[in-house]
Symmetry: C2
Subunit: 501 residues, 2 copies
């Protein structure tokens, strides 16, 4: 039995019933939308998919008419811009995500291409189109971030679609909507529907279920979509209100990390050879060599079609800033951007966690240098209890997924953990207290973080275990000797670029 | 005597002097940068221009090396992206403006094309290149917004440039930097320098002066640029600190608007015929007619190369929301975006006033609908005293300039003031208090604003007088009768689009 059978039953609603119910529906939708805006508790994302002529654009326009269009962000995704083509395929959807309190409608979305491609046999026959996995991960992440995800598939039987297309084409006011592409797709009705069915099944989940809507009767279609949307909004608003009232209890569950002791107390950090040292003379020679090499690589013709992301993490005073400056000194300022990560802005806080990193992804020929990064979630946020255990636990796979998308789109990633010993950190703190450069003045926060050293160590080891992947491995750098650390980093960046170009 | 003569004197600094002064300079620059970041008082924008080989890219790299590159945003502007090409030429610079507390370096900027075009005689011989006027206005606006604007011209004599280019071309490590374009430009040294001279003179002002730097000696060039930058930073930081301490007095100067009484008390608002009325039956017919018309126009093939901006302003309960919904109901949700303007976000507050509108400008084939707009500055901000008189006074010309750039780039602008009488507003307020739609509940703010009616009336009349231009006139709509207002608006939008396409 086909997934779509129940959407081909020819559901109908008579005009009197429609008129009665739609009046109440509209008032209730407006109320729910207002409650959503007031609470700002979550974002709503509605994906509109289905067969041409089944009422997709009518429904989008209806939602905008029934509710307050000022708080709905409707986005269509025609051919990607040149900026989008230089980044992972999901980038343009990330840019368009609605913030908390708003409803986003994606008309044309991440399902459009996979279904068409599969129906047209552009992708392999048996395998699911590449990208379905990315979609599953994206939707899981959105749901975990509290986004209410609603996915509609507007359906018609083969005869129903033909009838509808002919009707639209006949009416001079709607004829423009039926293109030759639509007829071409219609001729492949069966493969199209079977491609859709398979993809819908693969992406139907508790957190992002599909809702099938029979598009053959206008009254039915409008009521079905509207009342479904309302029910989802109301349920989630009730949940949010309930969660609000128990948020105190919930905060309690944000347990800070407890240092674990392994049997032999050995870990990736304390196994590093911290005695590595490079004399100033050797350093000078090596610096010139690797900076020159890096400069050449950044200007390599092949790099004009690639990009790079460098991630610097490390305890306070581990030497991230100094190392970054040795890298940037080798580059033309037109070709890199520094992205220091501090507390998120208001706009960033209204979005899923990774949003603020997606917005800074480099275009072709560009190097983005992150001074602290998305790893904040599994480091400071975990240690300080700024987020729940569930949040930082899922961050590992979200991050791996994010980095894989980057690599797939041609980005070279180099991630550095600058490991400084507690003694050396103390020495540098004291040194900084005596320096005249104001920017080096250390804050009470620095001393406080130092007290949490053992917790940070656990968090770092877990991070390395879980996110050091083949495509984006961590480079642990013994950083007690600045000369050694800087050269090791420059050399690694060069090697990463070299092997990619 | 040429503007550049003093930059061709062959300034020199010996190595010992350089070494001594550069050490102090670097420390001081870092301190100043840190103070800037801490105070967040203003943004710094450094424009890098000059002859090839005169040390432009060296200086950009140097600034990044001497200061903390995490708080410098260096931007180059190669060929505009397709998104940029659909918007006014200055759009991409607006997107890249540094926020308060940061230093932005524009390497390649709004001077690049005008100078090259003029030197190559692409633009008319005698007239200044189109765009110089826009530049003057932009820089004035930036200065008024508190941006510290620093413009460098790096210079070389004709012989000096030839020597430098040959030297760069000879060294295998720098040969890549000398392109055939550079030699082509060098062959036009005299016209290039004369074009630059004229444009520099035209754009040299107290608020955005040019600084000429002799590029022939590296030591001199580096010290001259660095010490100049430092002096500018320090002076402005001192000014900002002084302003801070007198800010209480300054706030006092934010005088709210006083209603003026003209001799006959007549004005554009009370001259409107408020008795206009449209029966429901006629309204139904007209609505269908004009919505159909608007739908056709939005799908007009020529509109695919154009865009539209609709602005809705009016007192509370004037019917903006309802009118907007009658417009959007005629459009495909893929082709318009609603932009409700409320309080600015944190990121928006760190930028010049108009920034938050520039970021929402529509691309080709798109209609942006602003529910309240940039006119907030000369309406609510003026009436409530949220900004100083100087700020709202200059807003008129800034807005006219902004709208002219939009029109020049092919955008159709329709601006509506929905005029509701005090009696009708009162009636609607009372009606709203009884309605069950939560979103219509009125707030104490609404009643408070009502008390300021006379002040708003003055502000509106001034706004219309000063910003109703030939290219973007205000349409004053008698809005006591909703039917009449909605049809008048739809009809006007259609007429504006029709005459443009």
């Amino acid at each position: 039995m086909s997934l779509f059978e129940s959407a081909e039953l020819g559901h109908k609603v008579d005009d009197a019933t429609y008129a009665r119910r739609v009046k109440k529906l509209r008032a209730d939708l407006l109320d729910a939308q207002y409650d959503l805006k007031q609470s700002g508790a979550f974002a709503v994302l509605v994906l509109i998919n289905g067969l041409d002529g089944a009422g997709k654009s009518e429904t989008v326009n209806l939602f905008n008419e029934w509710m307050d269009p000022r708080h709905i962000e409707t986005r269509a995704f025609p051919a990607p811009s040149d900026e989008a083509r230089q980044r992972p395929p999901l980038w343009r959807y990330w840019q368009a995500l609605p913030p908390r309190g708003k409803i986003g409608i994606f008309f044309g979305n991440w399902y459009t291409d996979p279904i068409v491609e599969r129906a047209m046999r552009k992708s392999e026959r048996s395998a699911l189109p590449r990208g379905i996995n990315d979609i599953q991960h994206l939707e899981k992440m959105l749901a975990d971030e509290g986004v209410l995800l609603i996915k509609y598939w507007f359906h018609l039987s083969e005869k129903g679609q033909e009838k509808r297309l002919r009707k639209l084409a006949k009416n001079p006011r709607t004829a423009w909507r039926v293109t030759s592409h639509d007829w071409k797709l219609f001729k492949r009705y069966k493969p199209y529907v079977s491609a859709a069915e398979r993809i819908l099944r693969e992406t139907d989940s508790a957190h992002a279920p599909w809702t099938l809507i029979d598009g053959s009767d206008e009254n039915y279609r409008e009521l079905a979509a509207g009342e479904h949307l309302l029910a989802q909004l109301k349920r989630r608003l009730a949940d949010a209100a309930a969660a609000e009232s128990t948020s105190a209890a919930k905060n309690g569950r944000k347990t800070a990390v407890k240092p674990a002791t392994s049997l032999d107390r050995r870990n990736v950090l304390n196994s590093l050879d911290m005695s590595k040292h490079l004399s100033d003379r050797k350093y000078g020679r090596e610096l010139e060599k690797w900076q020159g090499q890096l400069n050449l690589l950044a200007r390599h013709p092949k790099f004009r079609e690639r990009s790079a992301v460098l991630v610097f993490e490390g305890m306070d005073a581990a030497g991230k800033g100094g190392a970054i400056r040795r890298v940037t000194a080798a580059l033309d300022a037109r070709h890199y951007r520094n992205i220091p990560i501090a507390a998120p802005t208001e706009e960033e806080r209204a979005q899923p966690y990774l949003w603020r990193f997606w917005r800074h992804l480099p275009g072709h020929g560009q190097i983005a240098i992150f001074d602290r990064s998305w790893y904040g979630r599994v480091l400071v946020e975990r240690v300080e209890g700024f987020c729940s255990e569930a949040d930082w636990m899922r961050a590992y796979s979200e991050i791996n997924d994010f980095e894989r998308q980057l690599v797939d789109s041609g980005t070279v990633i180099s991630k550095f953990w600058l490991s400084v010993s507690a003694d050396e950190q103390l020495r540098r703190f004291k040194e900084r207290e005596e320096t005249r450069f104001k920017r080096f003045k250390i804050t009470p926060d620095d001393w406080r973080n130092r007290d949490k050293w053992p917790s940070y160590e656990v968090a770092v080891c877990d991070m390395v275990d879980r996110t050091s992947t083949d495509i984006a491995p961590w480079h642990l750098i013994a950083a007690d000797d600045k000369n050694h650390a800087r050269i090791a980093i420059l050399k690694t960046v060069c090697e990463c670029l070299e092997s990619a170009l």
